[in-house]
């Protein structure tokens, strides 16, 4: 699904350049659940931004479903991302002045879905995440776990092929974190490819592959055997 070839990313600093990604080669197949780990400043979020097509200033080759992202124009990349990628953030990033329902509707409103389909997708998501009762509340009226639930609902409402999550449970209690991770597993089992960035070994255990970054270099790439649900629940 995704093939990265010698991806490099540098930031300009006062003196010269500081590298955050060095010659990253990575292939992610459809249906995988990949965890990116590494110490702070290793380039995890930068890599996620590249995958999310939020970043434009990288060098190298990026194939998304056999389409050459590196030779696309900015607009085409945005279009690609819009259709195929959903994102979950550590601090939820819900819009304060929109209701739960409006927040979830946001990606749909940007993706030119016909009104009827939009309605049904929205209803679907509210049902699936069991937040129908909260649809008219504002984010400030929800707990952190509930907010992240909305964040995930928003990320997958348009049924993206790729779900990217940057420390999705970083701000949550462990019980709430577990719920979110269970949700991820479920989505993965339903066919969504997931890439998550996390510090937590427990979270990594939900995935089937761990990629270690260190100072911008890809340090290791190991497959893990997915834990049975019960085992994860015991942690």
């Amino acid at each position: 699904m995704i093939r990265l070839n010698n991806i490099e990313r540098a930031y300009k600093t006062g003196a010269g350049q500081s590298w955050v990604l060095r010659r990253i080669n990575l292939t992610i197949e459809a249906g995988e659940f990949v965890t990116i780990m590494g110490p702070s400043g290793a380039g995890k979020s930068s890599l996620l931004n590249v995958l999310a097509l939020l970043d434009d200033a990288w060098a190298g080759q990026y194939w998304f479903r056999d389409q050459a992202v590196h030779s696309m124009k900015r607009k085409e990349r945005a279009e690609l991302a819009k259709r195929n990628v959903g994102m979950v953030f550590q601090s939820y990033h819900l819009l304060d002045d929109l209701t739960v329902r409006e927040n979830i509707d946001l990606p749909l409103s940007y993706k030119d879905f016909p009104a009827r389909q939009r309605q049904s997708l929205l209803a679907d998501a509210l049902d699936r995440f069991q937040i129908v009762a909260k649809k008219d509340l504002f984010p400030s009226q929800l707990s952190g776990g509930q907010q992240q639930l909305v964040g995930v609902a928003r990320a997958v409402v348009h049924k993206p092929a790729l779900l990217l999550a940057d420390e999705p449970t970083g701000n949550l209690h462990s019980s709430q974190a577990k719920e979110i991770m269970e949700l991820f597993r479920e989505l993965n089992q339903q066919g969504t490819t997931i890439v998550q960035v996390t510090h937590s070994e427990a979270n990594a255990a939900y995935g089937n592959r761990v990629v270690q970054l260190h100072d911008g270099w890809l340090a290791s790439d190991t497959a893990v055997s997915p834990m049975p649900p019960t085992a994860a629940g015991l942690r």
Binding site: L54, A78, Q90, S91, L95, D166
Partner: protein, 994 residues
């Protein structure tokens, strides 16, 4: 988020350590010293010691140290450092600056980045203080030993004073630096304040000096004009025979005194030239009545009107300067006035301008009443006098009117010619009479400028509140780091003061320059002559005070927040979660809506007034006003009174005028073209009518029609033959033909102009045969002394008859020229002098003696509306500009608050166009609300503007639509720039700050 957690801890720590304020006599904690390794830092005094030796470390490096020490062991992010070191609206190379500060700090501590002993670098994240720290509070006595040993040698009351001054000085310096560091904000705020102060001061000054307190006279506010109003045509008569004014003076109970003064033309002979001067004859108590001491010499008095007293004259200041070049030795010199030698006994001060005369002469109350004829001017005294009184205190105008009404009822039967058949006594403040309707223009302008000042202040308020919101966190941080509330308030106060002072300074400058600029406008023909327009100091102080208060209050907003506030929540609002400060944005939006609404009101008023002015200038006079020379020809007393003499004179004069280079055609006439001519009822055989068929009648020569470009519609024009043989023929205007000969051909019909029957020297019962019809010309109506062009349907019919018909009165000449008319005045004077040195040429009094018909039209009709149009346009454009700036700044602010939201939306797939639309929509909502409120208010306020308009309705849809469109488009443009900036938000950057 971790950073926030740390700050929370800091706050908690500081809170628990702080002793209760009512701790009684126990030592007061002064500050905290932190020891690490061989170093010791005092966070209060910003001093650093190494083994007791003071080390120089100031500015940013110390602040970095301070922050690191406060959370020793914890990570301090680069963003936190940045927020503390640089205000959010500064744009410097943060990274470079921060690295430099840390390097300087390390240098001072002898530390290194590779092997840190104190400051550890966490790459791309921030710094951590790794050494062990030991905190100790420093207390004032009793135990000061430790403090004494290290304290610099400044003590006692004096030292504290010095330190306070030092702090103040530092605050001010910091405040000015802050302004310099955000030049955009500072420029807009200072300019806005300055414009508000400047514009309002200039206009308030004019209103104050020119409208409210224009007169230098004693009891100026109680000067009252006494008039009678003809109840039939509502016309006022304000001049009476001297004996009648005397009767009023002696018989009334409501006036302290009544002065009689009248205006008449005086021929001044000097060498072999003659000039017409405006003279005022006033009764002897003028000195006390006006209460203005002369600049030189003395006033006239009772002794000057005793029989046998030598004739005296006082000079007007302007005349003295013009004629005698301000010569102080003028006293005692003689002037030949109307053939009589008068001694100059005094010169009046600049502001004494009663009636705008050149000369002032005494008239005895007991002067014998001169023989009167209607058009006789050349006499020793005025024929008629104004009756102006000083109303007793506490007496109303109505009471006074009722009081003198009794006297008038007795006088009227004695002088039936001087009083209307049915009349009512009217008393008016002299000031109101002179300013007439124009006073209202000034009060409207006053209101307009008030709105402008309001817009300016609210604009600055908005700007400051935006900054306040942006700085709430900075303030919370400062408070958490130990800045007392007083200290914060002082800092903010000095910042607002720096802003307000700069604005006020520039405002004064603008007021001064604006005053000079406004002097270039023809204020003389607008304001009373006595008024002296100058910058009014109380007004300036008032404007400055308002601006200062507004600026300082709004500038203090962040401090109020702190005082009210829950610090922790504010600290937590890292700029990501902006809910806490959002109420400001709502208030600011309110301010902007208000500004848009107010500026819409201003624009509408200005638009209407400008349109009214343009309508006025576009009114078709029926004649062609450009390049027309007009002047009165004054004949000497007792000469040229017969028709033949006048004919002989003009038959010699007109051909000579034609030889002047640039003259195209010329004519004799009776007054100013179109505007002044005798009028009265007409008699037409076979057409009896009860109501008055009013018609003007012009006495002219054959050149009249070509000179003024009246065109013949039927029949023929007057010919040279008609004039020479004084044929009783007349050309009439189209509306005369239409109104009095409806459906008939007027050619060949007879008409009598009854006004001729009232003039003794003129043949009575004269019927004229109508030989031609020309197009109408439009006159003016006087509505409360405010001239307006009459409705074309109602303009007065006119007849034109050969001037040779009668020899009465003075006459005028008019010429069509190819050159500017005023340039040929001397040629005309020379020709007149060569014909008869006693005949004097007089230009239009209204335009200050010039000869161009257009000058007269300006002074008579256009100057006031033009002034109003310019002044309102200036006010409205400033208000408009300020409102647009306000909108721009509030949108910029909203965008900066929403940057994070926008980042999320972009990350969720929003296109740049969607973001642009989102922001524009927000702006449009503000504009639309403002426009709606403004429209409603404008429509509600129309009655105030209506009195200023002619030729355009107060609800003129064209103006309203144009104003709304202009406001909306300009507003959208103001929103577009911030909106465009919003589309450039990088989602990656905004979402990374976690």
């Amino acid at each position: 988020m971790r950073g926030v957690e740390q700050l929370r801890n800091v706050w908690r720590r500081l809170r628990t350590k702080r002793p209760a304020p009512e701790a009684g006599p126990v030592p007061r904690r002064r500050s905290e010293r932190i020891r690490f390794g061989p170093f010791e830092a005092d966070l209060h005094t910003h001093e650093l010691w190494r083994d007791g030796t003071r080390i120089k470390l100031v500015g940013h490096p110390f602040v970095v140290l301070e922050m690191l020490l406060e959370s020793a062991g914890d990570l301090i992010t680069r963003d936190e450092l940045r927020a503390r070191l640089w205000p959010s609206d500064t744009f410097v190379s943060f990274d470079h600056g921060l690295n430099a500060a840390v390097n300087r700090l390390r240098e001072a501590l002898g530390d290194s980045a590779t092997e840190p002993k104190f400051v550890e670098t966490l790459p791309r994240r921030g710094y951590r203080f790794i050494a062990k720290v030991e905190r100790r509070a420093v207390f004032e006595s009793p135990s000061r030993a430790w403090a004494e040993s290290t304290k610099p040698v400044r003590q006692g009351k004096l030292a504290r004073g010095v330190r306070t001054m030092d702090g103040l000085f530092r605050d001010m310096r910091f405040a000015f630096r802050q302004l310099r560091q955000s030049p955009g904000f500072a420029t807009v705020a200072i300019l806005t304040l300055a414009l508000g102060i400047g514009a309002s001061t200039v206009i308030f000054s004019i209103v104050y000096n020119g409208v409210l307190y224009p007169f230098p006279y004693r009891s100026a506010e109680r000067l009252t004009a006494i008039m009678v109003m003809d109840t039939r045509d509502k016309g006022n008569r304000g001049m009476f025979p001297l004996s009648d004014v005397k009767a009023l003076r002696e018989g009334n109970h409501t006036f302290e005194d009544i002065l009689a003064y009248g205006l008449w033309y005086v021929k001044y002979t000097k060498g072999n030239t003659a000039a017409m001067l405006k003279g005022v004859g006033a009764t002897p108590e003028a000195k006390d009545f006006w209460g203005v001491p002369p600049l030189l010499g003395r006033w006239f008095g009772q002794q000057d009107v005793e029989s046998g007293a030598p004739p005296v004259v006082l000079l007007n200041y302007r005349f003295w300067n013009k004629e005698f070049h301000g010569d102080r030795n003028v006293l005692g010199q003689a002037m030949m006035l109307n053939g009589k030698s008068r001694t100059i006994v005094g010169v009046l001060p600049p502001r004494f301008q009663a009636v705008g005369a050149d000369l002032y002469m005494p008239v005895s109350w007991t002067r014998p009443e001169p023989a009167r004829g209607k058009f006789e001017w050349d006499v020793d005294d005025p024929l008629y006098f104004w009756a102006t009184g000083i109303l007793k205190r506490g007496v109303t105008l109505e009471t006074a009117a009722a009081d003198v009404d009794v006297i008038f009822r007795q006088l009227a039967p004695k002088h039936p010619d001087d009083y209307p058949k049915k009349f009512r006594v009217v008393t008016k403040w002299l000031n109101d009479l002179i300013m007439a309707n124009f006073k209202q223009t000034f009060f409207l302008l006053f209101a307009a400028v008030g709105l402008l000042l309001f817009i300016a202040c609210s604009n600055v308020a908005g700007l400051l509140l935006a900054r306040a919101s942006a700085r709430t966190r900075e303030m919370a941080l400062r408070a958490a780091l130990g800045a007392g509330r007083g200290r914060l308030v002082r800092q903010l106060l000095s910042e607002s003061l720096a802003l307000a002072m700069s604005g006020c300074f520039l405002g004064c400058l603008l007021a001064y320059v604006g005053m000079k600029g406004i002097m270039l406008l023809p204020l003389q023909s607008i304001l009373p002559m006595e008024s002296e327009v100058a910058l009014s100091r109380p007004v300036l102080l008032f404007a400055i005070a308002i601006s200062l208060v507004a600026t300082v209050l709004c500038g203090m907003a962040p401090a109020f927040h702190i005082i009210r506030g829950d610090l922790q929540r504010k600290l937590a609002s890292t700029g990501v979660n902006v809910g806490a400060v959002f109420q400001h944005s709502r208030f600011r939006s309110g301010l902007v809506v208000g500004q848009v609404a107010l500026s819409l009101i201003l624009l509408t008023a200005a638009g209407l007034i400008a349109r009214s002015f343009f309508a006025l200038t576009r009114v078709d006079l029926g004649v062609q006003p450009k390049n027309i020379f007009t002047a009165d020809v004054h004949f000497p007393k007792g000469r040229y009174t017969k028709a033949e003499e006048k004919v002989a004179f003009f038959e010699r004069l007109l051909p000579q005028l034609h030889t002047i280079p640039g003259v195209v055609s010329e004519t004799e006439l009776i007054g100013m073209p179109v505007f002044f001519a005798p009028d009265g009822d007409v008699t037409i055989p076979g057409k009896a009518h009860k109501d008055r068929w009013n018609s003007q009648v012009e006495l002219c020569s054959e050149g009249y029609f070509s000179t003024l470009n009246l065109h013949l519609l039927r029949g023929r024009l007057l010919t040279e033959g008609d004039i020479q043989s004084a044929r009783r023929v007349t050309v009439v205007s189209e509306n005369l033909a239409r109104r009095f000969f409806a459906g008939e051909d007027p050619i060949g019909k007879q008409i009598k102009f009854n006004v001729f029957d009232e003039i003794p020297e003129t043949p009575h019962d004269a019927y004229f045969e109508i030989v031609g019809v020309v197009n109408d010309s439009r006159g003016v109506d006087f509505n409360d002394n405010y001239p307006r062009f009459s409705d074309p349907a109602k303009s007065t019919p006119r007849g034109y008859v050969p001037f040779s018909f009668s020899g009465f009165g003075d006459r005028s000449i008019a010429m069509l020229t190819r050159v500017p008319p005023n340039l040929i005045a001397n040629n005309v004077r020379q020709i007149l002098y060569s014909m008869d040195p006693d005949v004097v040429l007089v230009g239009s009094e209204l335009s200050g003696g010039t000869f161009a018909f257009s000058d007269f039209l300006d002074a008579f009709l256009y100057d006031k509306p033009r002034f109003a149009a310019i002044a309102f346009a200036a006010c409205a454009s400033l208000g408009f500009l300020l409102a647009i700036i306000g909108l721009f700044s509030v949108m910029t602010y909203i965008v900066s608050l929403k940057t994070h939201d926008i980042g999320i939306r972009l990350a969720l797939g929003a296109s740049r166009e969607a973001i642009l639309k989102l922001i524009l929509r927000k702006g449009l909502v503000l504009i639309a609300i403002g426009v709606l409120i403004g429209m409603a208010a404008s429509l509600g306020l129309t009655r105030f503007v209506a009195s200023q308009l002619s030729g355009v309705s107060a609800t003129d849809p064209v103006t309203l639509i144009a104003v709304v469109i202009t406001m909306t488009l300009a507003g959208l443009f103001a929103c577009f720039l911030p909106a465009r900036r919003a589309t450039l938000v990088e989602p990656m950057t905004t979402l990374r700050n976690e």
